[in-house]
């Protein structure tokens, strides 16, 4: 086929030289009113080669796209070509069913309208499905949000401070408390909690999707190969592009905000989980297998623990990226700090935008430090509950029964605990 067409390529390109300014593929799709038959005549010069009149219909008949493009009258690219001189194509008879091979290279493929129709179709037929997906996200989100907002500000600051102390040490706890107090003083506490609940909810779903997916990608090279472009696309496609379809499918509000955030924040978690598991030394895998580890044991006792620093880095990245999505998500009516920033920009109220931005930064730094500290391998104490504030409580509860209860087991354990510390 290509061989018979090759002479026409040259005619097409020569004809195109006159069309050059108008036939660029970048022009956006236009209104739906123009009849379908209008667009091919914008791009017919290639068909003028008489020897093609027989081969082209055959190609059209073979092509599955042909029917899709002709059926709805919405297809159109002619409007933007309206100013161009009418192409010299006279032989329209062979191409009147609206698709021709030459469209593959002269940039007149109606890809954009296909996408629009595809989306319309999905919205028409699958909206109930997406509304069902909404359910769990919605309930998680409102649960988290209700919880965060119901706790009094100072109690919440104290709680987060304790968490930071437990997992990141005393200095970090101090930093966390100070930044949270600053947020409270700025008067943006409720907004910050809404944002935090959004971020945490999307993190929950990122973990639920990303960890299994990362494990799968680490196991199978084929899955890795096929998922990589998808992950690339998720990470690099501008958020504005999928903002619209997400709104069409999920409506507006916090739930689509979480969905958009998940799309953006998921890839690094998947990648770093997969990478972490793949980087486990092969001799350790071999050793585990040589000692009779089942695939599940291999995963839970060797691969995941050893990949943990990498996975924690992934979680940290997912958190950071979700926070950076907050402002964009606010464009689809997601509340919180992002909304403040957006509103500030809209009203040219720099003060409002800056305060919102500062809140995001402080929240980000606090979350980042805590999750990074979680990724550090811990040694010394055998269990996490033996350090930090929990360790304090633990020791208190352990010490008390030791002299009181003469039960041999208890006192032995307490003695052991005392010995450890």
């Amino acid at each position: 086929m290509t061989e018979t067409l090759s002479p026409s390529t040259s005619t097409a390109s020569s004809a195109e030289s006159t069309l050059a300014p108008t036939s660029t593929p970048w022009t956006p799709p236009q209104n739906d009113a123009v009849p379908a038959t209008a667009w091919p005549d914008a791009a017919t010069p290639a068909i003028t080669a008489p020897d093609l009149s027989t081969s082209v219909p055959a190609a059209v008949a073979d092509d599955p796209w042909a029917s899709a493009t002709t059926a709805p009258p919405a297809t159109d690219t002619a409007d933007w070509l309206g100013s161009a001189p009418p192409p010299g194509g006279t032989d329209l008879g062979s191409t009147h069913d609206s698709f021709a091979l030459h469209q593959l290279w002269d940039g007149s493929l109606p890809v954009e309208s296909w996408i629009n129709q595809g989306l319309d179709w999905v919205v028409q037929h699958f909206r109930p499905f997406f509304q069902t997906v909404r359910g769990p996200i919605d309930s998680t989100l409102s649960g988290v949000e209700g919880l965060l907002l119901s706790v009094p500000t100072l109690a919440m600051v104290g709680l987060l401070g304790l968490l930071a102390w437990q997992f990141a040490g005393r200095a970090m706890a101090l930093g966390a408390v100070v930044s949270l107090l600053v947020i409270a003083m700025l008067g943006i506490w409720p907004e910050a909690m809404v944002t935090l609940s959004l971020v945490l909810t999307s993190l929950v779903f990122c973990l639920a999707i990303g960890l299994p997916l990362g494990i799968l990608l680490a196991r199978s090279d084929r899955a890795q190969r096929s998922m990589r472009p998808v992950l690339d696309a998720m990470q690099t496609t501008p958020a504005f592009v999928y903002l619209v379809p997400v709104v069409m499918l999920f409506g507006i509000g916090n739930v689509p905000g979480v969905v958009v955030t998940i799309i953006f924040a998921l890839p690094p978690l998947v990648r770093l989980t997969s990478l972490g598991i793949r980087q486990v030394r092969p001799d350790l895998i071999e050793a585990a297998q040589a000692y009779g580890a089942s695939p599940w044991q291999l995963l839970t006792k060797v691969q995941l623990p050893l990949a943990m620093p990498s996975i924690m880095a992934g979680i940290n990245q997912a958190l950071m990226l979700s926070l950076s999505m907050v402002v964009i998500a606010s464009m689809i009516a997601v509340g919180g700090l992002g909304q403040m920033v957006l509103r500030g920009i809209g009203r040219l109220d720099m003060g409002m935008a800056t305060v919102g931005g500062l809140g995001i930064v402080l929240l980000a730094i606090t979350l980042d430090r805590i999750t990074q500290a979680l990724g550090q391998p811990r040694r010394g104490a055998r269990h996490w509950w033996q350090t930090g504030p929990a360790g304090l409580v633990w020791r208190l509860t352990q010490r008390r029964p030791a002299p009181a209860a003469p039960a041999p087991m208890d006192s032995a354990e307490a003695a052991l605990a005392a010995h450890i510390h």
């Binding site: 030394r281 001799d283 350790l284 071999e286 050793a287 585990a288 297998q289 040589a290 000692y291 009779g292 580890a293 089942s294 044991q297 006792k301 060797v302 623990p305 050893l306 391998p377 040694r379």
Partner: protein, 415 residues
């Protein structure tokens, strides 16, 4: 308890279509040929041997000779392309995944060149790793792991992490991990190669000691012939995937199968491998039939043969003593009638036990004025080692010792 391993015509081809390479292999193509024609690497080529229960079987070869692949075929970390491997008569390639895991958890342990200790676990947890996988309760597995650590001399290190230990200690942990489940088969993949020479010798002794405590079938991979000769009951030498020769250390030293093995064993310290009994030769022996005569006959024999010393054995061939022409003459001086040989024994002759390594004899042989007698642990006379014998043995470039040994044996005379 120890289990034998039978390896029956095992092939392993790495590549996508091993059948093609196998066809070529059956047609007699060599490994480089097959690699050039199909891009497939034949790692193990028709390995066929039996590893006896309770022996230390060393598989030797240079890197790339397929020895590591062969050992991984035994616990099926790698699936063979063709052939069967039987452990205690059971074909492990027919085993289900579950049965295979049970086998690996209970019967076959492995020690790795890189130690392969889990960095996120303490030494005790590492040692208990196999037991943990087998589902043994925490208290029980920690008790067994502590015992295993004690066996390798690391009691009290249980709470450390592997990276806090030296290389030698880490490999002791590796060994303890392998011993914790009390397996009947131990696979050691260049287990001591990453250790420095002194620690390596120490670990070899440790292994031999453990083997004395409880006999296991040990398959030991090594590229160090001295190590192989020291610890191996039998040795298989591999080259390009082929098993070139299987035999005891001195079979391999005495009768190398081909030039490759010969060049391989040239550098080995033979004095450490060969035992006194291996190089002892038959000197003139005199059998003391009666306690009260024989001295005169012995003296005549020595004079006729122009020799200085004779070795006296009992009729059951037990060693009794050494006489020399001088000592016989002195004993007979002024004596009338028959005299027992016992009167003419040289004083202070300490016979060598036959399994002493040659390297430890050099001083004693050099100091003695005569060939030193060699006896079996029961007192049975094995021969004698003279300075001449020892020098000829140590001179590695002159052709082997066995023709001389047989010629000398023909010289023995019995009275």
């Amino acid at each position: 308890m120890a289990q034998p391993i039978t390896i029956e015509h095992v092939f392993k081809v790495f590549g996508d279509t091993p059948e093609i390479a196998m066809d070529l292999a059956y047609q007699g193509c060599s490994k480089p040929d097959i690699l050039a024609r199909t891009g497939h690497s034949v790692a193990v080529f028709d390995a066929h041997m039996t590893i006896e229960a309770g022996e230390i079987f060393v598989i030797m070869g240079l890197s790339g000779s397929g020895k590591s692949t062969l050992v991984r075929l035994i616990n099926r970390l790698i699936e063979p392309t063709a052939g069967r491997i039987l452990i205690d008569g059971r074909d492990i390639n027919a085993a289900s995944d579950r049965a295979l895991r049970a086998l690996r958890r209970k019967d076959i342990s492995m020690v790795f060149q890189s130690f392969a200790l889990m960095p996120h676990m303490t030494v005790l947890d590492n040692t208990a790793f196999g037991l943990e996988l087998a589902g043994v309760g925490k208290a029980e597995r920690q008790r067994q792991a502590a015992l295993a650590l004690e066996q390798v001399g690391l009691a009290g290190w249980g709470d450390s992490y592997p990276d806090e230990l030296s290389g030698g200690m880490q490999q002791r942990v590796g060994l303890a991990r392998a011993l914790a489940s009390d397996p009947s088969i131990l696979l050691m993949d260049e287990a001591f190669s990453a250790l420095d020479p002194i620690i390596r010798t120490e670990m070899q002794s440790e292994l031999l000691r453990l083997q004395k405590v409880k006999r296991r079938t040990i398959v030991f991979i090594s590229h160090d012939l001295d190590e192989a000769m020291r610890i191996g009951d039998r040795i298989a030498i591999m080259r390009d995937g082929h098993v070139v020769q299987v035999g005891t250390p001195d079979e391999i030293l005495r009768h190398p199968a081909d030039d490759y093995v010969r060049s391989f064993v040239r550098g080995v310290d033979a004095a450490a491998v060969f035992k006194a009994g291996d190089i002892a030769r038959q000197p003139i022996t005199v059998v003391a039939e009666h306690a009260d005569r024989g001295a005169r006959a012995a003296l005549k024999l020595l004079q006729d043969q122009d020799r200085d010393h004779a070795y006296v054995v009992s009729p059951t061939h037990s060693y009794l003593g050494v006489v020399s022409a001088d000592s016989l003459r002195t004993a007979l001086q002024g004596h009338v009638g028959a005299l027992g040989l016992a009167h003419a024994y040289l004083p202070g002759v300490q016979p060598i036990i036959e399994d002493e390594p040659v390297s430890e004899l050099i001083g004693r042989v050099a100091q003695a004025s005569h060939a030193i007698p060699v006896v079996a642990p029961g007192g049975h006379f094995r021969g004698a080692i003279s300075k001449n014998t020892l020098l000829r043995f140590l001179d590695r470039d002159t052709p082997p010792i066995e023709p001389a040994a047989t010629a000398e044996a023909a010289n023995a005379t019995t009275l």
